[in-house]
């Protein structure tokens, strides 16, 4: 693990309102590369991972549907989904995906 990567991720997880991050490798199947926070531990983390990847895929599919066959290179870059309790922010690219769960009320 390169130290600068470690530092970047620790910076991210040490943010005041952040409950945890999830670093996924996209594609089939989805794999958790790294995570932090109690909320992403074990089975719960896997559920989050599959839910997040499904969300991203369906948004991507919707985007392709809207743009038609000549999808002019548009892709999902960033998503924030606010639930009553938390907010999840997702930044995907073709191969990986970084998601952060935080509590905006804190």
């Amino acid at each position: 693990m390169p130290p600068e990567l470690e530092q970047t991720l620790s910076l991210l997880s040490s943010h005041r309102s952040v409950l945890g991050y999830l670093l996924l490798s996209r594609g089939h199947p989805v794999c958790i590369i790294r995570y932090s926070g109690v909320i992403f531990e074990g089975e719960q983390g896997k559920k989050y991972a599959s839910a997040i990847s499904k969300i991203v895929e369906s948004v991507q599919a919707g985007l392709e549907e809207v743009n038609g066959p000549d999808n002019d290179g548009d892709e999902v870059r960033f998503m924030r989904i606010r639930t009553k309790r938390h907010e999840i922010m997702i930044s995907p690219d073709e191969r990986y995906l970084l998601a952060v769960l935080h509590d905006p009320a804190t």
């Binding site: 991210l12 309102s17 590369i33 606010r82 930044s91 191969r95 905006p104 009320a105």
Partner: protein, 660 residues
């Protein structure tokens, strides 16, 4: 292994599509048949209805009775017809269904055995009831023909009234609806089937989500594109996190009304940018704001004596939306003393270094400069403390100055050698003629003549080119004498608003004073040595005053920063003796540089010697009223006119003159 699985899933998907297609075909056939139904004869419809009702009624009561009860009711003659037609139709119906079943079966084989079996069991149960419906349709069709052919039979039918009266009198519409309902049920069952199958698929996919092996994880973590991805996406997330606003905040819920600490304070700190790795043991030597993105600011840093492996000079681009770390990091082999964003290319950043090199970084490239000047006599060989970009979008130059009195003009894409070099020398200096430039500034709208502040405390005017009555280089005759220590900051009044004050400039010095000057008109060049005194002196500070900058929007406002860490905001229209607001910044260590944001001057970036870049918000103070310019005119007139009676200024001026 996963490939095989995926292939299986693909096969299943194809099967689902097949199922859907078969269903669509069946539906089409159904509608066609219905059309032919409606086109059929309607004379004996009642009889048909009755018969069908009998069947349906029988079905609804007990399914076992249906065949037996209907048989006696059917007349003997058409019986064979009915049967043949029935069988033919039922075969066709069965055929289509069989094809369905056939397509179901193989899918069972491919999917997970256990769970799918249960699913198909379920399907069979569901389809039991609808299976009777096509039988009903069949009978109905045959019976249409029956009365049409022979009306004679009508009388015979009458005889069977006893059977018929038992059945409830349904209308054709009802039957149709019934059929529709049943079809619907069948379709729903099929949809459920499909849905279940897709759920199955997803479940399977979910189950396949597995742990990465150590090698896989290591290879991902080491991949450069993965590093890039984390770098970029974590930046995006951090920006969003720093947004700090809760978008679903409910204002109807009473929040705790704790008193705001910053209440009544008109200058507020927005943030302090600091990076442990790059800012430690370093000082901010210069600051600037991005001309294009108001949230970006830049700071240059000198060397960290404790870190031998880190580059000596660092330049960090900071984003107001990303507080934890710099947006960009640039390296230099020598301490960076001055930095500026290119006003014409938002990607380019220029830096002047202690070694004399001018560096050009590009935000699109990595840490190292994309262009740099050679360390040769053609350029600078002494520290470059001051630089400025002059000109227009299509014709601009970077003007740099070093402490040996060299001023160079560069084309931004050609740093191999300067376009022009100017040696500022003063004949009056003993030993060396050098003019040690610490700061320089061009008046607004002026690209050929500039003023320089020097280490000896004097301010001089210099020309880039020969002009009427004056040679290129230092103007030897006009000496702006007033400071008794090195001049640290020099700033011309910005050209905004209805009144032109662009001949006024301010200087700050290590002699604890800030002075206001009026530049001598260039139209009448002096021919003999001539000393120009400041028109006012601000003696409020009790430490070195490191920088002074006019506010970009308010004509009478300027800010100063000093060695005790104070940020003073002056408004000449309200008071010329003391600052309007004085703020202690940070830990009380010196603040080296001050820069107003380029838009409306609401924010000020302050470069601290503790390695932090502070950003302060001055609120509405920087918004000028209509009358500020005329007030400023009066204030300046008052300063100049009252200068004779103002003991400080008078004393200052006479002291210097006497000291010559």
């Amino acid at each position: 292994m996963s490939d095989k699985r995926r292939a299986e899933i693909e096969a299943k998907r194809a099967k689902l599509a097949e199922l859907r297609k078969a269903r669509a075909d069946r539906q089409r056939a159904e509608t066609e048949r219905r059309q032919s139904d409606t086109g059929g004869p309607s004379i004996a419809r009642r009889d048909v209805d009755d018969l069908v009702n009998a069947l349906v009624g029988g079905l609804s009561s007990t399914s076992d009775v249906t065949p037996s009860s209907s048989l006696p009711g059917t007349p003997p003659r058409p019986a064979p017809n009915t049967l043949s037609g029935y069988s033919a139709l039922s075969i066709s119906g069965r055929l289509s269904r069989q094809s369905d079943v056939g397509s179901d079966r193989p899918s069972i084989g491919t999917t997970l055995v256990q769970s799918v079996n249960s699913a198909t069991d379920h399907v069979i149960e569901r389809t039991m009831i609808p299976r009777f419906v096509p039988d009903l349709i069949d009978v109905e069709q045959e019976l249409y023909e029956l009365p049409q052919r022979e009306r004679v039979i009508y009388n015979k039918e009458v005889q069977t009234t006893a059977v018929e009266t038992e059945s409830p009198t349904f209308r054709e519409e009802d039957i149709r609806q019934q059929i529709q309902r049943d079809l619907e049920a069948e379709r729903n069952a099929r949809d459920d089937d499909l849905e279940e199958e897709s759920i199955q698929l997803e479940k399977e996919i979910e189950q396949e989500m597995r742990e990465l092996t150590e090698e896989e994880r290591a290879s991902i973590l080491a991949a450069p594109e993965f590093l890039d991805f984390v770098e970029q996406s974590s930046k995006i997330l951090q920006r969003a996190l720093n947004d700090g606003y809760d978008y679903i905040r409910d204002y109807t819920i009473g929040a705790d009304s704790g008193g705001d600490d910053s209440e009544g304070k008109r200058v507020k700190r927005v943030c302090a940018f600091y990076d442990e790795r790059y800012g430690k043991n370093r000082s901010v030597t210069d600051v600037d704001w991005s001309p294009k993105y108001p949230e970006l600011s830049i700071a240059s840093y000198n060397k960290n004596p404790a870190a031998l492996n880190e580059p000596d000079g660092i330049v960090l681009v900071w984003n107001l939306h990303l507080l934890e770390r710099p947006e960009f990091v640039f390296h230099s082999q020598s301490d960076v003393l001055s930095v500026t964003f290119s006003p014409f290319h938002s990607n380019l950043v220029f830096g002047g270094t202690y070694s004399g090199q001018i560096l050009l970084w590009d935000t699109r490239s990595k840490h190292l400069p994309v262009l740099k000047t050679p360390l040769s006599a053609a350029g600078h060989t002494h520290p470059v403390y001051a630089m400025q970009m002059v000109g227009t979008q299509n014709a601009h130059n970077l003007i740099t100055s070093s402490t040996d009195g060299t001023v160079c003009s560069w084309l931004v894409d050609m740093l191999a050698q300067p376009q022009e070099t100017l040696e500022l020398v003063h004949a009056g200096h003993n030993k060396t003629g050098e003019v040690a430039i610490t700061t320089l500034d061009f008046p607004d709208n002026e690209t050929t003549t500039f003023w320089v502040g020097t280490e000896e405390g004097n301010v001089y005017q210099a020309n880039r080119y020969d002009r009427a009555g004056a040679k290129a280089g230092l103007n030897q005759y006009d000496i702006y004498k007033g400071h008794s220590g090195p001049v640290m900051g020099l700033n011309f009044h910005p050209l905004v608003g209805p009144v032109d004050f662009s001949d006024l400039f301010l200087t700050s010095s290590v002699d604890w004073t800030v002075k206001l000057w009026r530049a001598k008109s260039l139209a009448k060049p002096s021919t003999t040595a001539h000393t120009i005194a400041p028109i006012y002196s601000f003696d409020e500070a009790d430490d070195y005053v490191y920088d002074v900058k006019w506010h970009p929007a308010h004509p009478a406002m300027f800010g100063t920063v000093d060695g005790s860490g104070k940020f003073d905001l002056w408004n000449l229209n309200t008071d010329t003796e003391v600052p309007t607001v004085s703020t202690n910044v940070g830990s009380g260590r010196a603040i080296n540089k001050l820069e107003w944001d380029r838009k409306d001057g609401r924010r000020a970036a302050l470069g601290g010697s503790d390695g932090k870049l502070y950003v302060y918000d001055i609120g509405d103070m920087g918004i000028p009223r209509e009358s500020e310019w005329t007030d400023m005119q009066k204030a300046v007139a008052g300063i100049v006119g009252g200068g004779q009676t103002n003991g400080v200024v008078d004393g200052e001026a006479t002291r210097i003159v006497a000291g010559r």
